[in-house]
Symmetry: C2
Subunit: 329 residues, 2 copies
């Protein structure tokens, strides 16, 4: 049995705990969250699982003293700066780490010094750390890399993740700006709350694994504008208002564009899909019809990665460094 | 530079050598083939690359004495029984091995004693051995496993590889029985020449990695019959004659069918595609439109696997044990 410590029990952490509770090979031994409305409570009760007898501790030290877990599932923040000390503390406490921190998926190009520091701390303590998720971590980086495994040459990789947000949770529809006026959209964009974190990290992971020395990576973020009245979402959207967001990442080698990642989520989008196109020999045109449900998939891939992380040599790893996660009952 | 020895220079080996010659990180140092029309010749001249100064040796010992290669690319036979001593000889000569032997892709269930013997020989000599290819090795086993990495539960996996053989080489069209009468098809089937080798190995690899204890795996092989006159292939096919082959593998746990692999190649097939359907949470419906060109892909994945094989600990490995191959220029 693998002894699991949940670090961070926000919405993602709670879902993860529900999923972990269903896995035969995992035993949830403890949780950590300093929030006053969580610390001291029972994890199962917080997650709607009924009482599990698993306490939520206010800090890692007391949790690990009590439970001696093998692996921490770290679902706290998106920022590399902020996750750094959390990773170091967990590594020092003798834990391997699987995280959902978007900027930790591939920090070697954006913040090489910080990446080296985290890697060195993990190595010093004999801990392995991997950050993953559906995106970044799978659909727009790992899966295109896997598909390139059958290519004799690769000229360019284009990935599209397109989602009809009508069927998604209200907070998700709000997060992508559905129903905002153009001015409101611009303000939210300036605040940074509309941005999907991880597109640049995905580009860097692809480029590093393919040996591409990219000279420029850029991201753009724009509203998807409603051209007709849309009533399929949580609120009616009038023509000329935003119904969602389109974020595009582009990476170039000199003047040659080699990676394009397009993430588009909008209420009323006619079709959801995840598409990978590799211009190469052979060319690859792969489509996942309906797309992959992100909430489920992120929690699943974290759990499915645990075995490979536990078996790995120490250090800060990427999805390309380890045997692929696969479902294990 | 990685020093490569080509062992077996039949059609696949020759194509592989042409592909390897185009890779910057590889240096072809030698080749082995005992066939009287090959041994003693220059590999480049045999492969249509012009003189490379790379001799084809009649045996491994003399080749390795002369060239001190790091890795052998083994493209000789499909049979585990026959590949065994070749692998052991290469391992004893200090070489890591990437093979295209279909039965070696996952021999642990079909021939566990033989698999253990090969694994032990590799471990004894510090050699790593991997067998791979487009199928088995990727499309019908590794790729569905990778996709299951985002699943919280998996009930069943179905893979379809459907190919319009009209555009393929004449030997391929002949191999799948296109243009045979039903009686001729039955005779060829009985001789075993129509069979795609590896479907059972793919099922075993999937089941092992997913922790499924299958109780039964079966394969069926039947002709695809022409219902109209087909003129798109190398020879006209009349109604009632075979235009190709359909081979289906099924794996069950008790009475529950958990894996279905359908391989169908026929002249006049309306569409080529590779499709993976995972019944699970989330469900996955993935299609590679047009399918993946098998000749190119098999050679590419062999070359793309070399780095992971060289970095691995010794032993007989499967695709699920190593970081995924990805294209490297």
């Amino acid at each position: 049995m693998i002894r699991v410590l949940h670090v961070g029990v926000g919405p993602v952490g709670q879902r993860l705990a529900r999923y972990a509770a269903a896995r035969k090979e995992l035993k949830i031994v403890g949780a950590v969250d300093p929030a006053p409305d969580k610390a001291g409570r029972d994890l199962g009760e917080l997650c709607g699982l009924g009482r599990l007898g698993v306490p939520i501790h206010p800090d890692v030290a007391s949790a690990q003293r009590a439970h001696r877990a093998h692996v921490a599932l770290l679902t706290t923040v998106s920022s590399l700066e902020r996750i750094r000390h959390q990773v170091e503390e967990l590594a020092a406490a003798g834990l391997d780490i699987v995280s959902t921190c978007e900027e930790l998926v591939y920090p070697w190009k954006t913040r090489p010094a910080l990446a080296r520091a985290i890697d060195a701390a993990c190595a010093r303590h004999g801990a392995t750390c991997l950050s993953t998720g559906v995106n970044p971590g799978f659909l727009m980086d790992f899966l295109p890399l896997v598909l390139s495994g059958v290519c004799q040459s690769v000229e360019k990789i284009r990935v599209q993740r397109v989602q009809d947000a009508s069927v998604r949770r209200i907070p998700f529809q709000q997060k992508i700006g559905a129903g905002l006026t153009p001015a409101e959209f611009r303000r939210k964009k300036a605040e940074g709350t509309l941005r999907h974190v991880g597109l640049t990290e995905s580009m860097h992971l692809i480029a590093a694994r393919l040996g591409w020395k990219t000279t420029r990576t850029v991201e753009t973020l724009n509203p998807v504008m409603a051209s007709r009245r849309i009533t399929s979402g949580y609120t009616p959207i009038e023509p000329g208002m935003a119904c969602g967001v389109e974020q595009i990442g582009r990476a170039c080698i000199g003047r040659r564009e080699v990676i394009v990642l397009e993430f588009r989520a909008a209420v009323g989008e006619p079709e959801s899909f995840d598409r990978i196109e590799i211009a190469g020999d052979p060319p690859i045109h792969s489509t996942i019809a309906g797309g992959v449900n992100g909430d489920t998939a992120t929690c699943a891939i974290v759990l499915n990665s645990i075995a490979a992380v536990l078996a790995s040599e120490p250090g800060l790893k990427t999805m390309a460094d380890l045997p692929p996660p696969a479902w294990m009952p």
